[in-house]
């Protein structure tokens, strides 16, 4: 199942809103394999880049192509977990079943896949609880379970641990590793160096909407090539 929609190629991708260049001529190829983390300070354009790749907003200029087929949005094969996940006003289980139902997966298989995803994310015990009463961390896990049940080839995760405590962060990181290990390409954003060190095999660093660096995670963290990345990494260590 892997390697069918990847690589994802961005060619001179630019996004302008109200005259502001929020994404500026990003050219970049993302391949199957490495766990990719998009890094950058607040407002760098990480979330926008994810939304562009996911396909729900269109670039002002440039192209985003999956496996060399321009204009095709393989929505079935890739999915995205939002920075602030939206859970539906239903049970936890029904939330996970929902996208499968949209795709016409039959009721029995739906139940099985949803149950499986909940077990894997440690939410099995609260499958029947109303999703809206879950804590922020549980909702984040639910969103990941929902995405995982869709068995995507590529999973975009936008700041999956932004509002979590250390234990919640560790849980979600374990989960991300598990999804990656099960053969799904992960493209996630983070602005935490420690997290990037634990998870990433490849880093894409952006700043003010521009691609500054892309390379293996260790090399990026230990010997950043650009002045921006150096400043960002040392600044964060000093804080």
């Amino acid at each position: 199942m892997s390697g069918r929609i990847l690589p994802l190629a961005l060619e001179g991708v630019t996004l302008k809103i109200d005259g502001r260049r929020l994404i500026d001529k990003i050219t970049l190829t993302l391949d199957a394999g490495p766990l990719t983390v998009v890094m950058g300070p607040n407002g760098a354009g990480k979330s926008l880049l994810m939304r562009l790749c996911h396909g729900l907003i269109k670039p002002t200029k440039g192209s985003i192509t999956w496996q060399g087929s321009p204009g095709v949005w393989p929505g079935e094969r890739q999915t995205r977990v939002f920075q602030k996940p939206v859970v539906l006003r239903r049970s936890v289980l029904a939330n996970v079943e929902y996208p499968l139902k949209l795709r016409g997966v039959d009721a029995n298989e739906r139940k099985v896949r949803a149950r499986e995803a909940l077990e894997r994310t440690g939410l099995g015990d609260i499958a029947m609880s109303p999703a809206r009463v879950l804590s922020g961390g549980e909702q984040q896990k639910l969103a990941i379970a929902r995405a995982w049940a869709m068995e995507p080839e590529v999973l975009f995760l936008d700041e999956p641990t932004a509002n979590l405590d250390p234990a919640g962060t560790r849980d979600v990181e374990d989960l991300v590793r598990a999804v990656h290990g099960a053969g799904t390409k992960i493209i996630m954003t983070s602005h935490r160096t420690d997290q990037v060190r634990r998870l990433a095999s490849e880093v894409v660093f952006i700043h003010k909407g521009r691609l500054i660096e892309k390379g293996p995670a260790d090399a990026f963290l230990d010997t950043p090539q650009s002045a921006e990345a150096r400043a960002y990494l040392s600044g964060e260590l000093l804080v």
């Binding site: 079935e76 999915t79 996940p85 239903r90 929902y98 949209l102 795709r103 929902r146």
Partner: protein, 233 residues
Amino acid sequence: MNDFSSGLLDAFRLIVTLDPDLVEIIWLTIRVSLLAVTIAACIGLPLGAVLAITRFPGRTAVVVALNSLMGLPPVVVGLIVYMALSRVGPFGVLGLLFTPTAMVIAQTLLVLPIIAAVSRQVLSDLWLEYREQLISLGARHSQSIATLIWDARYQLMTAVLAGFGRAIAEVGAVMIVGGNIDHATRVMTTAIALETSKGNLSLAIGLGAILVCLALIVNGALFLLHPRRTVTP
């Protein structure tokens, strides 16, 4: 005062003995209003959802019109339906004037704007929250509409019940198009108006009490249905 207390007593007797006239009136009232609200909900909920989700030229005008129609005076609706159904009106040949069907039509027109306007408001708030997520998960337009209606079901039920409250309590429209004919189109409100003007307070009080009870039952049922009740620790 004497009149009043004997009226109360009589009313009580009518209710506990299930007086056939009383039961007939109540039954017709519930049938007419329930049917009107069902029809209005079947049209109003999807209409509200479409207005919440889609953008088309003239949409704002429709929304404004709908919101102002919410406050339409029942007698005006009655008059319009009367003219449409009267022998010289466009639908005169159907012979519907002074039948329960005419009353259902009038009440549907009264309730539809409430259900459509309230559900549009509720659903567009929810859509704001759900939009990107649903599209991302792969929902088509029709699937999104169904999802919104389902997830807002308790608030929408409140809108429908508010509509039912308006239908069952209004007197002007059904009086004009129904004519308050005994054993044919007499409902609780028109009967109360008539009996009160005749000075026959016992039936009026009995009907009034039942009307209030109906409102309490409906709202109590809604309260019990609502899941938020179980969330309080």
